[in-house]
């Protein structure tokens, strides 16, 4: 089973957790990214995610492999939603299991950070008032590509070494 996946349906986080069950593990950490009702001063009503799936799946698998190597964990898994999401839904889930808690926490943090930076996944926000916009793109476009330093740039980045 792939350790990075996409899902078009709501995530069953309890079931995902059981995939990492391992009697050799004493620590498990999970991260859930939720759909928030605001972003950069705008009221958000709902989201849509899309991805260039073949590349994202491959790169996601590489991120899990990197986390496994770096932190010596026994298992990790990440699932990202695609399609339309309502407020409060889980957009992304990461779980990591290791012999001790420290590796589990650190691996979990590494995976979500890298996923956000590296995977070709895009988020369209629908705002109160009817506007919509692609996160990290619209202001970028308006700024003519100049990094104004005030918002987190979402360019897909090479792995950080």
């Amino acid at each position: 089973m792939n350790r990075f996946r996409f899902s078009n349906a709501a995530l069953d986080t309890a079931a995902l957790r059981t995939e990492l069950a391992d009697p050799a593990c004493g620590g498990y950490a999970a991260f859930e990214g939720w759909v928030r009702d605001h972003n950069e001063g705008q009221r958000v009503l709902r989201l849509e995610y899309e991805a260039f799936a073949p590349l994202a799946l491959r790169e996601g698998e590489r991120i899990i492999a990197e986390a496994t190597d770096r932190f010596g964990i026994r298992g990790a898994l990440c699932v990202h939603r695609l399609g339309a999401l309502a407020l409060g839904e889980v957009a992304v889930w990461v779980g990591a299991a290791a012999a001790h808690r420290d590796e589990a926490f650190r691996a979990c943090r590494y995976v979500i950070d890298e996923v956000k930076h590296r995977l070709p996944i895009w988020k369209k926000e629908h705002y109160a008032g009817g506007d919509s916009g692609w996160a990290n793109c619209e202001r970028c476009a308006a700024a003519g590509g100049a990094d104004d330093g005030h918002h987190e740039h979402g360019h897909a980045h090479a792995p950080r070494r």
Partner: protein, 281 residues
């Protein structure tokens, strides 16, 4: 006394690798068949075009005297066989139709060195040293050798001359008999003959669009024929054609489902994706 020299231009091939009739491809605006006949005709008593039965009505070929293959699907040796039987008293200066670098001097060298006491006079290949059967003089006596060769089920005229009593010459211009079988070889030959640099061939590419670029392009993918050498040039073309507003500095590139450099050369059949700023999580 030696037999009179007739000319035979082999134009019955199927040009399967070229995917178009080699007789009709042009250099300096002249079809290859007409170019070759113009070289051959002044040097021989009569010049013929060798054709398959179904090519008899082809206007390009029927402008000349034709000899129709009697043995279907036997390739060039079938054409030579038909000529030797149609005019048993003649020797044949046999020429392939796909020799764009052949010149009169090379044919004059061959004719001057002709040895009617052998079954053929031929050049040694610049590539493998074996006899070149398709720019050679086949004497009347070669008819028996051809019959015997065909009777054993063999078809390769080069193989026949390699084991026969043949006068062998060295080419003065080593490239004179280079032949043309594929589109890229044709493009290179034209460039050599017409003194132009070969143009970068157009590549067939597939471009996929995601997120903001998909909305700006008004489509999620398209097939593109482009001379762009790399992703940077391709994006510049598409940006103008599709009104894309993102700057290259804001994008990353993927080729065939892997991240790639903007400068990486593109190949025919590549799938290219320009990745807008990402926002997972």
């Amino acid at each position: 006394m030696s037999a009179p020299l007739f000319g035979l231009l082999l134009a019955g091939g199927r040009s399967t690798r070229m995917q178009r009739d080699k007789a009709g491809i042009e250099y300096d605006g002249q079809p290859q068949l007409a170019r070759a006949m113009a070289l051959l005709a002044p040097l021989v008593v009569r010049a013929f075009v060798s054709v398959r039965a179904e090519q008899r009505g082809d206007p390009q070929r029927s402008a000349y005297e034709c000899i129709v293959d009697a043995l279907p699907e036997s390739g060039p040796i079938g054409g030579i066989h038909a000529a030797l039987h149609a005019h048993p008293g003649a020797a044949w200066l046999v020429l392939a139709c796909d020799l764009p670098f052949l010149d009169a001097a090379t044919l004059q060298q061959l004719i001057a060195a002709r040895d009617p006491a052998r079954i053929a006079t031929a050049f040694r290949s610049s590539h493998d040293g074996k006899p070149e059967p398709l720019c050679a003089i086949w004497e009347p006596a070669s008819a028996a050798a051809v019959e015997a060769w065909l009777a054993t089920g063999q078809r390769c005229p080069r193989g026949l001359l390699a084991q026969a009593d043949v006068a062998l010459l060295t080419l003065r211009a080593p490239q004179a008999l280079d032949n043309i079988n594929t589109g890229p070889e044709y493009a290179a030959a034209r460039a050599r003959l017409e003194g132009a640099a070969p143009p970068a061939p157009a590549r067939r590419l597939r471009v996929q669009y995601f997120a903001l670029l998909r909305e700006q392009a008004g489509r999620s993918e398209e097939a593109v024929s482009s001379r762009a050498r790399n992703a940077r040039e391709l994006y510049a073309e598409l940006r103008a054609a599709r009104g894309l507003k993102l700057e290259p500095a804001q994008l990353r590139v993927a080729v065939n489902e892997e991240f790639a450099d903007w400068e990486r050369p593109l190949a025919d059949g590549d799938t290219v994706v320009f990745l807008p700023p990402v926002a997972g999580g």
